[in-house]
């Protein structure tokens, strides 16, 4: 009985993994397809990578997405850290109100937030552009970053910082030398999650982008009516490769730390 259950579970796991990864594999394979139409294989070719390098609109959108995600992820992580530190000082009632406000964007539909922000920017006579786009993305990413940092910050032993101050550190030194190193991993996780959410965002971007700030998802979405060209597959492959390199880099770093730790013991 247990053996049957294990087999079913194993096949179910394989099915889920296949469901998640087959589309990515298809995108990679089709990026090397010589055909203009995606459903017909016409031989191996790297022509779409060449086409992509000449597609200034797509590359400009990629740049906007990367810049926006970098800035909003950094701001979200910074504000998330700030929120965690602030909440540590609040009494339970204040904490409930503050966390309610902080995590409200997770509950409110994004389209409502987008329309609201568009109205606010209009009332402020703020020109829509990269700045408004970043602020819009900050609204979306901040709750996620705050959740991660908050959990990690609450798990810290306050005695560690107190010990540092007893040993002559001022508040800033204690934070920089004790708290921050302990929060390095959660902060990195918060930043990466915020970056990913921002990079792939479409709803908030629709309402807050402006002149010269069309993001990659918006650009691709606007291409649907006229039909997607295979350069999208080439771009997708490059992004997948980039993601794999980041995962590999983080993995190697973790492995190095484990090995160094084992070497010391």
């Amino acid at each position: 009985m247990k053996h049957t259950l294990d087999t079913v579970t194993a096949w179910l796991a394989r099915g889920v993994i296949a469901f998640l990864y087959i589309p990515i594999v298809v995108v990679v394979v089709l990026s090397f397809n010589d055909s203009e139409v995606t459903y017909k294989w016409a031989g191996f070719s790297t022509r779409w990578y060449g086409e992509l390098s000449r597609n200034t609109e797509l590359l400009a959108a990629l740049r906007v997405s990367a810049e926006t995600a970098l800035i909003s992820a950094t701001l979200a992580t910074l504000c998330g850290l700030l929120a965690a530190m602030g909440m540590a000082r609040l009494r339970s009632r204040g904490k409930a109100v503050f966390s309610g406000g902080l995590f409200l964007p997770l509950i409110v539909p994004e389209i409502v937030l987008g329309v609201a922000l568009l109205s606010v920017f209009g009332a402020m006579s703020a020109d829509l552009g990269t700045q408004t786009l970043v602020l819009g993305h900050l609204v979306v990413t901040l709750p996620y970053a705050a959740l991660i940092v908050l959990g990690a910050y609450n798990a810290l032993d306050p005695a560690l910082e107190e010990a540092a101050t007893d040993l002559g550190c001022n508040a800033w030194q204690a934070f920089r030398r004790v708290t921050l190193p302990l929060l390095r991993q959660p902060l990195l996780a918060a930043w990466l999650l915020s970056f990913t959410i921002s990079f792939g965002n479409i709803v908030m971007s629709t309402f807050t982008n402006g002149v010269g700030s069309t993001t990659l998802p918006l650009r691709v979405y606007s291409m649907l009516k006229g039909g997607l060209t295979p350069e999208i597959n080439a771009l997708g492959t490059i992004l997948v490769l980039f993601t794999l390199l980041i995962i590999l880099g983080v993995g190697l770093r973790q492995m190095r730390r484990v090995l160094l730790g084992a070497g010391r013991s």
Partner: protein
Amino acid sequence: MRVRSVSRGVLTVAVATVTALVATGCGGSESSSGGGGKKLNVYAWAGEIPDTVVKKFEQETGIDVTLDTFDSNETMTAKLSSGSAGYDLVEPSQYSVQQLVGQKLIQPLDHSRIKGLDNIADKFRDPSYDPGNKYSVPWIWGTTGFAYNKKCIPSATSWKTLFDEKHKGKVYMLDNMLAAYIAGLQVTGSRATSTDEGEIKDATEALTDQKKMLAGYNSTNYPQLLSSGQACAAQAWSGTAMAKVVAANPDVEYVLPEEGGSLWTDGLAIPQGAKNTDAAYQFINFLLRPEIAAMATDDGGSASANAKAREFVKDKKALENPAVYAPDAAVAKADFLLDPGAAMKHFQQGWTKVKAS
């Protein structure tokens, strides 16, 4: 104490950054008012103003063009409604021109500043949606019809093909309310421009009955589904995606139905409060040149509303492709899809009913 002094430092950085972002976003952009500036901000459908056209204009004039793209007329209207969009030229579809005029979001064009308006084909001069081309200059045009795979359906000329039970599970309709109602209205004997509540009700019933035999609603990859044989027939927009498949696969045919189908145009309009109007007029005049308008077909795969552009089109096959340039006889029977105005609520209620059925 420990938290207070540190959080003050972090707070200063965060507040300073956000304040800087808001401050730089406020107070208007640097582009010069009334024109003369070396900037032009354009908001258009993706691919309809090819990159080659933009680059050529920049080289000729020294004006720096920022071309942003939208996915629907509604997105573009929402941006213009905010009053903060910052665009100098937009590319609305015909019914959207009517809506933008009604909302006072675009300004009347100064025809004394436009050269080459007489190059526009008769069909698009003084159109029903914009009498006298007061607010817009037609740039691209196309049709809403349907396409079918001859291996599955040897011949088809009517919307009835898309409502035929014989093709159950092999038919797609555009996932677009007004487009679907073109078929719904015309198959029940009404005109695509109808705003009559009773006629809309009949069309709703026809579309509700049709839904049972549809494979689905699809506005994206239906040309590929037709070409691969997964679909027998699909309601379709003419233009780049459909044209590519028709050119590549002789089994796929695009037709304007005998009931008429409909015509659409994407034109050029100047928003209220545009800061670079001189540059906008320069760009309109540039696009009205026949050899430039021809690039919309050669590089963009779209039909140009410029009659004289046909002589300059290098891709002669595109001129014969009904999914780019529909035959004149069929076009003569097609109506422009107009803004339903107050009748929009009947369409919306009907569409909700269709989708929920």
